[in-house]
């Protein structure tokens, strides 16, 4: 199944071609991704929905260079991740990929502002958009000095989005951003994501169970048994 972006886009943010990912062997073999094709262009927010175990997280892992597919190619800004060493993959993630995790997955010891500064330390370079400004962009500038323990779930997720944007990534991979949020906050978070995707011209892939927030997405795909199809 091929799922492509609108033809008006020319530059490719993320392109998965015939990607298959299997675990185990023999009778125990599980196919997490089954000949998946996906293209996401800069400034596009796509959502991938599907039941648990359908392969959504596996897709994020492969697209983010966290797992190597059994076959196929994963191209991010003209670089095929398949041929890169682990070290080169880590460097590539630093420079081109942003992650937003469930519940933000923030470092407990760091304030909201330091969460963003940590990315500067990891990448070894200053952010194009200053961390303070990024926090302001997600409405968290008032809470810059707070640690995750003193932030609500929605606030943590906003910080997580700002953190993912520090390195000016080409591709943003978002893992269940509304998993622990109520309906109102879920909408707020995905609105922020959609806005930042367009503002920073990032190719964003969001995995979610939450059908309520799909209205903010440019495209919605469904994954079932490792296969991807338009919803």
């Amino acid at each position: 199944m091929t799922t492509t972006a609108p033809s008006t886009r020319t530059r490719t943010g993320l392109k998965l071609t015939d990607v298959t990912l299997t675990f185990g062997d023999g009778d125990d073999q599980v196919t997490a991704l089954d000949h998946v094709d996906l293209t996401v262009v800069p400034g596009e927010l796509i959502a991938i929905v599907g039941p648990s175990g359908a392969g959504k997280s596996s897709l994020l892992a492969v697209a983010g260079g966290l797992a190597r597919p059994t076959s196929g190619s994963v191209v991010v800004v003209d670089t095929d991740l398949i041929g890169l060493s682990s070290r080169a993959l880590a460097a590539f993630r630093r420079d081109h990929l942003g992650f937003v995790f469930q519940s933000g997955n923030l470092v407990p010891a760091l304030t909201a502002l330091d969460q963003l500064r940590l990315v500067e330390k990891i990448t070894g370079r200053r952010a194009t958009t200053p961390p303070e400004e990024l926090l302001r962009a997600v409405g968290m500038d008032q809470h810059a000095g707070r640690r995750p323990g003193r932030l609500s779930g929605g606030e943590r997720q906003r910080v997580g989005i700002a953190r993912a944007l520090v390195a000016s990534p080409s591709v943003l991979l978002v893992d269940e951003p509304t998993a622990a949020l109520d309906r109102r906050r879920s909408h707020e978070i995905v609105e922020v994501l959609a806005f930042q995707t367009h503002e920073f011209s990032v190719a964003t892939v969001m995995v979610t169970h939450d059908h309520d927030v799909l209205e903010h997405c440019d495209r919605v795909l469904e994954m079932i048994d490792g296969r991807l199809r338009p919803l």
Binding site: S57, A90, R93, F101, P108, D114, K121
Partner: protein, 376 residues
């Protein structure tokens, strides 16, 4: 460093407890070092603080208690003195005796029979040097036993009397017993078992325990050549320390305790950082997913351990030194020596860092994919 400092401040209770444990280990290290140094001073300061460079025992003398077993002659001493690289060679008598002070209080003394004008005879910081038979210059530490200038000490069994004419500037002990420097002739009479007022046979004035040697310009003379010529078994002064009563066994015991302490410290630090790293697995996986290199995370982890160790060791060693200062001068053999304490501190730091490095090395095996969804 960015993350290390912030985590130290954030988890200050956990790190504080760990720092307290490391500090207590450092206190123990300082106290054990002080006890070791104290035992060295107590065991062999009579030799260590003398200008003797080497000691020649009678041929074939076993190491253990060699000072009391050995017996050499003046001829052997003269042969050593004739060696080209020997600046000084003279007879030295050593024996441990029981005695009583004038007021009847018992005293244990190590008698060092020395030539009154010889190179081994110490200067007296209080009183004067020995000048004739029956005079003694005692270790300064004997004053703590209540001995004073002018006291007359009577040796048990023989009844020989020694008049205290001086005290050395510092502690001079041998086998944990205060040294009394007495004229060689007096020592030879005691060694021969002559009762007070009796004269031993003339041969008694020809022997002593060892030949004390000093090389030209402080260098160690050719001991093998001297041994061949004089039919002796010579050892450097440091090697001769092992012949002090109980010295080797005591030091070995202390070293064993210290070795266990160092091993425990490495294990404790390693175990703490193992647990700490396990607790941080999720955030480490997130940082790895964000592209943090293993080197970045390892450096941060080891720096964190270094800050914790240096801070805790500094506090612990400070407390240990303060406590050790109180112990000095008491009856406990304790001496604060800079070298061993600094070396112990460096060893604790090194081993602690090694333990922490091994513990944090598991960072390299954390799979960044565990930062995602259902894999967490």
């Amino acid at each position: 460093m960015f993350l290390a400092l912030r985590e130290l401040a954030f988890a200050r209770t956990r790190f504080g407890l760990m720092a307290a444990v490391i500090a207590m280990i450092a206190v123990l290290m300082v106290l054990l070092s002080g006890l070791s140094s104290g035992l060295v001073v107590d065991g062999v300061s009579g030799l260590m603080r003398s200008p003797i460079g080497a000691v020649a025992f009678s041929e074939g003398t076993k190491t253990d208690s060699a000072f009391t077993r050995s017996e050499v002659t003046r001829a052997q001493s003269d042969t050593w003195a004739a060696q080209g690289d020997v600046a000084d060679a003279e007879l030295l008598g050593t024996s441990i005796v029981n005695a009583k002070n004038g007021d009847g209080s018992p005293l244990d003394l190590t008698l060092f029979g020395v030539e009154p004008d010889g190179f081994v005879t110490p200067a007296a910081a209080q009183g004067r040097e020995i000048a004739g038979p029956g005079e003694a210059v005692l270790s300064s530490s004997a004053r703590d036993e209540g001995v004073a200038l002018g006291d007359v000490i009577t040796l048990s069994r023989l009844g020989t009397t020694l008049t205290v004419v001086g005290f050395t500037a510092d502690q001079r002990t041998f086998g944990h017993v205060d040294v009394a420097f007495i004229p060689l002739t007096t020592w030879q009479e005691v060694h021969a078992g002559a009762m007070a007022g009796e004269q031993p046979s003339p041969e008694a004035y020809d022997v002593a325990s060892v030949v004390a040697l000093r090389g030209i310009d402080g260098r160690t003379p050719d001991l093998a050549a001297g041994d061949t010529a004089a039919h002796t078994s010579a050892r450097t002064i440091k090697a001769a320390f092992d012949s002090s009563p109980g010295y080797a066994a005591e030091l070995m015991t202390m070293q064993l305790i210290k070795a266990f302490l160092y091993a425990i410290s490495a294990l404790v630090v390693g175990a703490f950082f193992t647990l700490w790293t396990v607790q941080r697995t999720r955030e480490l996986a997130v940082m790895r997913a964000m592209g943090a290199s293993t080197r970045f995370l390892l450096t941060d982890g080891v720096l964190q351990a270094a800050i914790l160790l240096v801070g805790a060791l500094a506090v612990g060693m400070g407390v240990g030194l303060a406590f050790g200062g109180l112990l000095q001068g008491t009856g406990i053999p304790f001496a604060l020596a800079t070298g061993p304490i600094l070396a112990g501190g460096a060893l604790l730091l090194g081993l602690g860092l090694a333990g922490a490095a091994v513990a944090t090395a598991r960072i390299a095996s954390i799979d960044p994919v565990t930062a995602l969804g259902e894999n967490r």
